[in-house]
């Protein structure tokens, strides 16, 4: 893998002298194409050009806002899934945390009289706590995370539906003042999303936590022999995912001005995992890219939005999505091998 995770990239020194004579432009192109994010970025731009060409409304202000809002919440959840996938785990319950967290905010404010901002923080902590449970069951009780989080998926859904009686709730009036900050203003979701992506991109490629996340997913036994606290890394990444999913759910509630038990859910989770996978993160662990996941989410949002504009119904969307996942995984597997074989 062309150092997608970045750990093998020489980011703070000039590129190592290659075996071939240096040709600056060729080398820059080469370096770009070796990045796993490159393919998906090219696809995102191609889609943009295509949809703009067929419907000029695609790049209008309003529609760009739409696309950004179709990208941001799923990209935020995808960031967490990337960290988990890189460390060799997955969280299927993230979409249900997404659904539950704005309800928690609502309960805390309306039933417990909490300050709105505090209620948001506590809802995020609750998301992280769910991540802690997912992580602890997976790591200490040795239940595969696929199964653990399948269980908590239904459990959390049950809690949401029971406590809300499956009815939507309104954003608490006391919290209205925060709405534009947390998702309601046009670009608010996107700004949060970009900040989160940038932050966790750095975490993954430039910090000890990120390095250990790769190590744990790449070689679990070897990582623990090397003295890495593998349990802490895995549980921590589950907690990050829970917290991010909770945050995305709150943003989405503020954006739509309603707390809806049918928002989020497995659809959001699968969109996020798809974004991660299309963006170049392998399910096998040990490699992945946060920025790729953002582009993956963007591609999915573009497709959904563009199909809408063109007037294709939502039904064939899944055909495209399915094909996109398959193609990107096939490319992933084989491009990685080609890159590996091709260079040094």
């Amino acid at each position: 893998m062309g150092g997608a995770v970045g750990q093998t990239e020489a980011e703070d020194t000039p590129a190592a002298p290659g075996p071939r004579p240096p040709r600056a432009l060729g080398r820059a192109a080469d370096a770009f194409l070796r990045r796993r994010e490159a393919t998906i970025l090219v696809v995102a731009i191609a889609l943009l050009v295509y949809f703009q060409w067929s419907r000029s409304a695609f790049l209008s202000h309003d529609n760009l806002v739409n696309i950004s809002q179709g990208t941001a919440p799923y990209a935020i959840v995808a960031v967490g899934e990337v960290l988990l996938l890189v460390s060799g785990e997955i969280d299927l319950s993230a979409g249900m945390v997404f659904t539950l967290s704005p309800f928690l905010m609502h309960y805390f404010i309306d039933y417990y009289g909490m300050y709105p901002i505090l209620a948001i923080v506590v809802a995020l902590l609750a998301g992280a706590a769910i991540g802690l449970v997912n992580g602890a069951v997976t790591v200490f009780l040795r239940v595969p995370s696929f199964v653990t989080t399948l269980g908590t998926l239904f459990l959390i859904q049950g809690i949401t539906l029971t406590t809300s009686h499956a009815y939507p709730a309104e954003i608490p009036p006391a919290a209205q003042g925060l709405a534009s900050w947390f998702g309601h203003a046009d670009w608010s979701e996107l700004i949060w999303c970009l900040a989160i992506v940038a932050f966790f991109h750095i975490v993954l490629i430039r910090t000890r936590w990120g390095l250990h996340t790769v190590a744990v997913g790449g070689n679990l036994l070897g990582a623990s022999e090397a003295g890495i606290k593998v349990a802490r890394i895995k549980v921590g990444n589950f907690m990050v995912t829970g917290g991010l999913a909770a945050f995305a759910g709150i943003l989405e509630a503020f954006r739509t001005s309603t707390i809806d038990p049918s928002s989020g859910g497995t659809g959001a989770m699968f969109t996020a995992v798809s974004a991660a996978v299309i963006g170049g993160t392998a399910l096998a662990g040990g490699s992945g890219t946060v920025i790729g996941a953002l582009f993956g989410a963007l591609v999915l949002a573009e497709l959904q939005n563009g199909f809408n504009l063109i007037g294709i119904s939502a039904n064939p969307f899944n055909i495209i999505l399915g094909a996109a996942i398959l193609v990107s995984m096939i490319l992933n597997v084989h491009l990685a091998r080609l890159r590996r074989a091709g260079r040094s």
Binding site: A10, T207, L211, G227
Partner: protein, 254 residues
């Protein structure tokens, strides 16, 4: 001579499998101790107890005469014990230099000091005479011998006082093997580091070790200075065990 490490009555089982029954072993300052024994004898298990990876079921470990309980690999490492594991504990997806600093990264908080790690890794490998095109390549791309050299370099440059080397020569060609053996000899000359080395090539063991221990049936059954034993004796010991097991009708101890 002062004793730096001592194991007393160590036992370790994995479920139904008893790996070690009663291990008594000592390591002296500046000494190179060769540990030999059949596959499955429990050598790696013993090493993994001495480096804090496994906790023994019973028995105790003394470091510089003081009883210690290693809580973790990190703990043992902080006390000056470093290990080259038989499986090398390298991460294929990471670069050579990140592997060389795995678990003890140089950090300028909150970021990794990649530049410093890259430079040091290169220096150490050059210093050791290891041939690698670049410290930026993923270890997945390296040969078995190169990977082993990196794992050894990682421990040797950790400034540990006690080095535990679990079959550091296994995947090595003659030249790379000589490189590691030279390195061990160099460490011995400096006398600051004490080494336990596991190897199957008894000639190499005799060449580099001060003393040889044989691990059989979960115990140390043989302990002699290298000068007082021979290739012949060591070979006979192991083959005799094999023959004895065969005539008993049981498979050789595994």
């Amino acid at each position: 001579m002062t004793e730096v490490l001592r194991a007393e009555n160590l036992a370790k089982s994995f479920g139904a499998v008893t790996a070690l029954t009663d291990i008594n072993l000592r390591l002296e300052q500046g000494e190179v101790l060769g540990l030999i024994g059949d596959n499955g004898a429990g050598k790696s298990t013993l090493i993994k107890i001495l480096c804090g990876f496994h906790q023994p079921d019973s028995g105790r470990v003394l470091l510089n005469g003081q009883e210690v309980t290693f809580k973790s690999v990190e703990h043992a490492r902080a006390l000056g014990i470093d290990t080259v594991y038989q499986d090398l504990a390298l991460i294929n997806e990471l670069s050579v230099y990140h592997n060389m600093f795995l678990g003890r990264e140089r950090v300028r908080w909150p970021l990794l000091s990649n530049r410093a790690m890259r430079r040091l890794a290169k220096e150490h490998l050059d210093d050791m005479g290891v041939n690698i095109s670049s410290v930026d390549v993923e270890v997945a791309k390296l040969s078995g011998g190169q990977r082993q050299a990196i794992a050894v370099a990682r421990s040797v440059y950790s400034e540990a006082k006690i080095l535990l080397l679990d079959e550091p020569l296994a995947a090595m060609g003659a030249k790379e093997g000589a490189l590691i053996l030279d390195l061990v000899r160099e460490l011995k000359e400096r006398g600051e580091v004490s080494v336990i080395i596991i190897a199957h090539n008894y000639a190499q063991v005799l060449e580099v070790c001060d003393r040889v221990n044989l691990l059989q049936h979960g115990q140390i059954t043989f302990d002699k200075p290298a000068g007082e034993t021979s290739l012949r004796e060591l070979t006979d010991l192991v083959v005799a065990e094999y023959r004895a097991a065969r005539t008993r009708g049981a498979p050789p101890a595994t």
